[in-house]
Amino acid sequence: MSSRNRPIKEIGEVYLTKEGMSFHEVSDTVCTVTEKRAPRNWWIAFFITSTFAAILFITIAYVFWQGIGVWGNDSPSFWAWDITNFVWWIGIGHAGTLISAVLFIFRQKWRTGINRAAEAMTIFAVICALLFPAIHVGRVWFIYYMFPIPNQMAIWPNFKSPLVWDFFAVSTYFTVSLLFWYAGLLPDFALLRDRAMGMIGRAGKIRRLVYGSLALGWRGSHRHWQNYERMYLILAALATPLVLSVHSVVSMDFATSVIPGWHTTIFPPYFVAGAIFSGFAMVQTLMLITRAVYGMKSLITMRHLELMNKIMLLTGSLVGYAYFMEFFIAAYSGDEYERYDFLSRLFGPFWWAYVWMFGCNVVVPQLFWFKRFRTSVPVMLAVSCLVNIGMWFERFVIIVQSQNRDFLPSSWGYYRPTGVDVCLFLGTLGLFFTLFLLFIRWVPMIAIAEVKGVLPQADPHDVGEHSTEGSPGHEAAADAALAGGE
């Protein structure tokens, strides 16, 4: 008997779900969330988050009416909370793509427990992110100037501008993430459709109609699975360089300018590492909450959480390295403006923001060197929240502090946000969590088909207690055919 025919325990692999889960249990655990009435806590959470989402839309209406002069942005801070929020939200989205695409390519099977929710998070985060530059253009009714379409001024976009690259990068990122998410959902929508077939009443009818339409007539055909798996692999292979390109392009918005503190070559990898770091922190926060509220502990196990903590430790340390390297290069460059800017980060008027940034992003994640903290839910919840705060401050420090201390002391300033800035930011948090709550209510929050595919009994060579098939001749024939492919 070859090693692949031995039970999973003997070859020392670890179960990715609760031990001994059947296919049907996986379907049930995930699907019933969308089939039962929402728990009371869901409604409480939904009430709070949708209130904030309402604040967002009211504030947006106010900003459109008044113009963006109601923000705290003023010379020298032409970019402030708006761009900070944009970069922060985009960065959060990156973890979703990393989990779904990069970990897929590296065959990290544990990703199946969390990839669906992480991809949803990506889409919602990118929606929140896109709001800010859209509002920041000021005259939103001229936003079509960004598109390469003929306009009344007979002029085209300047394709040498990183801001135009950014427009293409972020809109591609959003579209590809949406396609990837939907592609993964296809078999799970089919499962929800089939489960709705037996349901009576209006709810069953609506579910059959909606999930039936979304499933596109999927019938689990292996001739289809073959194309599907190839498509999934290709999408993952495309999304991997895409995710690296998006935050690199975002960082070039800054790096191609001449402002001290912005004009550095380290920005693309530094931004990408920070994006993944903050994204994992947000996934961790969301997973801890949904896991507790919906009892998904059998599918999102402590092992998942611990692995995510390890990635946060790694990316947090990469970010920490970039912080030190920035200082080193500032000193080594001999450029007095650059040197001054970095000293000002530590000792200037925004020192408090730098302390938040450094403390939350570099110091706090070091707790994860210890298994005791890596496997403690309260600790990881606290760390993931702090990391998100820290990463927001990182963008704030880079964007606002650098503009407030540029070449001419006469043009220095001290940026203060207004209530409108605060409402917009809190509002996007509300929108993000509202969309996420709607997602866990109506869409399978775990990739059911993928989780089934990594269960031990999904392996056709696994002929332990799961098989009804007894004769050894069959086994040998199956193995021979598999090995040779005939």
Binding site: N158, K160, G220, H222, N227, E486
Partner: protein, 191 residues
């Protein structure tokens, strides 16, 4: 309403059983048959004798369209139609075009991958006779199926059933589809 045999459906309890049965069906020489599983079963491509997926080709050509379309667009817009000199750089300059060429390559490839997959699978499809039976509802949950269509030249009500039963199927069922009136007439003429 007239009915017509559409396909035989055989149910299996495990991936191992369905994989083995697929090899048997293939050996028996059927052409219009399929395996239905809640997740892709490893080794099924070989067991069914499928040739390689063509999605990659669709993606390749859509990616090529994206990358060349992007280059052409930027060259014509900034270099030819309205030469735009910014920072003293040439109106059309390849290095600055790279990010957008890459993004549009990815964008069109992703469309090519998803819609190419759907096209090759002939999806979306409104209905299929296989959905006529309640047994099939567990195909997306935890059961594994093989279907042999009545259109297959080797299809025979008795022989096909016997063959499927010999593959240790948990259940073999004949699925019938209801014919529309005009289809029923055609069917009668045919016989």
């Amino acid at each position: 309403m007239a009915k017509r045999a559409a396909l035989y459906l055989a149910k299996y309890e495990t991936p191992h059983d369905v994989l083995h049965a697929a090899q048997e069906v293939r050996k028996a020489g059927y052409a219009k048959w399929d395996v239905h599983t809640p997740f892709p079963v490893h080794g099924m491509d070989e067991a069914m004798g499928l040739s390689d997926s063509k999605v990659g080709w669709i993606v390749f050509f859509s990616g090529l369209t994206g990358i060349s379309g992007a280059l052409l667009m930027m060259w014509w817009m900034n270099g030819v139609d309205y030469p735009l000199v910014v920072g003293g750089k040439p109106p059309s300059s390849l290095p600055a075009d790279v990010p957008i060429m890459f993004e549009l390559m990815v964008l069109l490839s992703a469309f090519g991958a998803l819609f190419g997959m759907l096209h090759l699978n002939r999806l979306p499809r409104h209905n299929h006779p296989i959905f006529e039976t309640e047994t099939f509802r567990s195909a997306s949950d935890d059961k594994f199926f093989i279907s042999i269509e009545s259109e297959d030249p080797k299809f025979d009500l008795a022989e096909t059933k016997a063959m499927l039963e010999s593959t240790h199927a948990a259940l073999v069922e004949l699925v019938e589809e209801t014919l529309q009136d005009d289809e029923a007439d055609e069917e009668e003429e045919h016989h």
